[in-house]
Symmetry: C4
Subunit: 200 residues, 4 copies
């Protein structure tokens, strides 16, 4: 089973998700900077969600790179991840239209948490199919980022009931943690290719 179509379909879905979010940036009726300024919360939310979806695409790109055979389980784990990502435009719109009210901000974080769990399940599924000695297993290693993110999301979800801006700040922190380039897989692939040459 080749992975080309799994990648192509995921790329297609993620490309549409990241692009239709911009439809939420509704053209203001006036033409002054003040009219644009009213879109501030929507624009901030768009940037945040763009970065999150971009991070998922980026990590997905790296993870799939290590996959050598695609199983039915991997296909469905991948579709499960795409499902939660497909809800990001909705929660982004709800949160920004309500100016970061409690429940919309909660829902935004909840979908991010569920996407993170879906990503973890996909990763586990891939490692299960490729063995504990596989490239991905080595690359993920202790997976500090993967473990700390859900904890941060949970803290943020709790904070939405006290101060939503703290929850938002935590979402930004999670994004920044992942924005730092993740060289683990690149490194393992390079060293693996040097040692064995069969990685590609």
């Amino acid at each position: 089973m080749g992975k080309a179509r799994l990648e192509a379909f995921s790329d297609g879905v993620i490309a549409v998700i990241i692009t239709i979010m911009v439809l939420e940036l509704k053209v203001p009726h006036g033409s002054s900077p003040a009219d644009l300024a009213g879109l501030g919360p929507v624009f901030f939310s768009y940037v945040l969600s763009f970065v999150f979806v971009a991070i998922y695409w980026n990590n997905h790109h790296h993870m799939l790179h290590t996959v050598q055979h695609v199983t039915g389980g991997i296909l469905w784990a991948n579709l499960h991840l795409l499902f939660w990502l497909s809800l990001v435009p909705f929660t982004t719109g709800w949160m920004s239209e309500n100016r970061f009210a409690t429940w919309p901000t909660f829902a935004y974080g909840l979908v991010l948490l569920l996407a993170a769990i879906a990503y973890y399940l996909l990763q586990t599924c891939v490692i299960h199919n490729h063995g504990a000695d596989s490239l991905l297993a080595k690359a993920v290693g202790a997976d500090v980022k993967g473990k700390i993110s859900p904890v941060l999301y949970l803290v943020a979800l709790g904070m939405t009931f006290f101060e939503t801006w703290i929850a938002l700040a935590i979402y930004v922190v999670v994004a920044l943690i992942w924005l730092v380039p993740d060289r683990r897989i690149e490194k393992v692939i390079t060293s693996g290719a040097g040692a064995g040459g069969t990685a590609e």
Copy 2:
């Protein structure tokens, strides 16, 4: 005739279909959980349609895997399938906005039935072009799922005039039947590759 573009185009269309359905999940004006709860039927319909389209993509992925040469007939049979799938966002929206009223629920099932028939035609077209001994012919075999689904859809279509929730339950059952991973093609490919090695 290569199959790369047939796959790429189908992936593109299915990716857009599965993603624009989320546009039907219109952002509620209020910010309370009650406002979100009002979206319950829309959300249920979105999940159901997401799963159906995902199943089609999944089976399409497996079917195309066995295709070795693409003919004009296969191209058009494929476009015919994509046409009915492209109506899923519309019937999903009509059904959920009318809270599962009789005719919208009927239309939803009808489009699913027509997509199932289109899939069957595509499958028949591929088998016709590749021979009764081809991978796909062996993999499909008695094709119990493919034969039972239209029957279930017909029963559901009839039930919409009595109890729409029974029709909906049948739609869910059909989805669950297909969600069980279909290992037929995977198995035949694996054994075929073992025996002859020419499958890929």
Copy 3:
């Protein structure tokens, strides 16, 4: 210069065009068959446009199959074709919302005519770059379909000022002419591959 990305980008644009047309099928507010029947003209227009865009994708698929090197001219001729195709959802919507009034039906045909001309320019550009002995040049041959279509469009454009349903009938006829599988390129490729083996 590879043609993979030219194909991938064209597939992406055409996939989005063919799918966003369904957004024009706006969910009716009522739930009766009469509410759906009101969508009749919109549905007819959607089917017609789906078939036209599908024909373009199909022919584009065959044409690109014969391309061996992509030049800047081919890239821009292709973008020019995609531009006119991108207007199809707009003219489809205008025509169907106005129930086939004169000018919208004229505009619909005009965009089809301009797309046909753009396709002809792309074809000419490819043949110019690959030589009069190339696969495409042989496959196109006298190009009866390619020459009769613009004439039919022009007749239809004129008819919109007398009887728009005649113009619509001519659009349907053009679609049917092209729906008949075009085996020219397939044939030439097959015979070319048999004779020289260098076609692929």
Copy 4:
């Protein structure tokens, strides 16, 4: 690290961007030519933006052609470019709905300027990773177009406060500068392939 998915994802995003812009061409309620004429500014803006996004795709296609290994830096520089391009449908809509008022025309040019800078950063990133003797470095050369465009954008941004039509004329000039086929990379690839044969 392969570049196939980077290309596929970029193609997907750009294909969606270029196509959803047509959604801004809202179907007019009347059916007379006058109703269509009212869309003049929207249509002009659509054509201009279509050409700009097409130019970016075209140049992106050529640039990526020279890339041999993709790094995390290139991935993010590419996503940064896609971010600014994703805002083009929004600024196009704001500018055309306000009939080229000062601030919307300013915002339109600003996003073009930021996209140009993002493209420059991506190009610099690729050259940095492939060496000053790389194909792209040679192809870009003095990069007159790349250097003159930001200057022209800045002049246009200033002009929006005096005469917006001059700013628009400058945008058109920039588009025309780039529409002239850029044969630099094609030439260098051809000569490089002739000399060393390792370019592909």
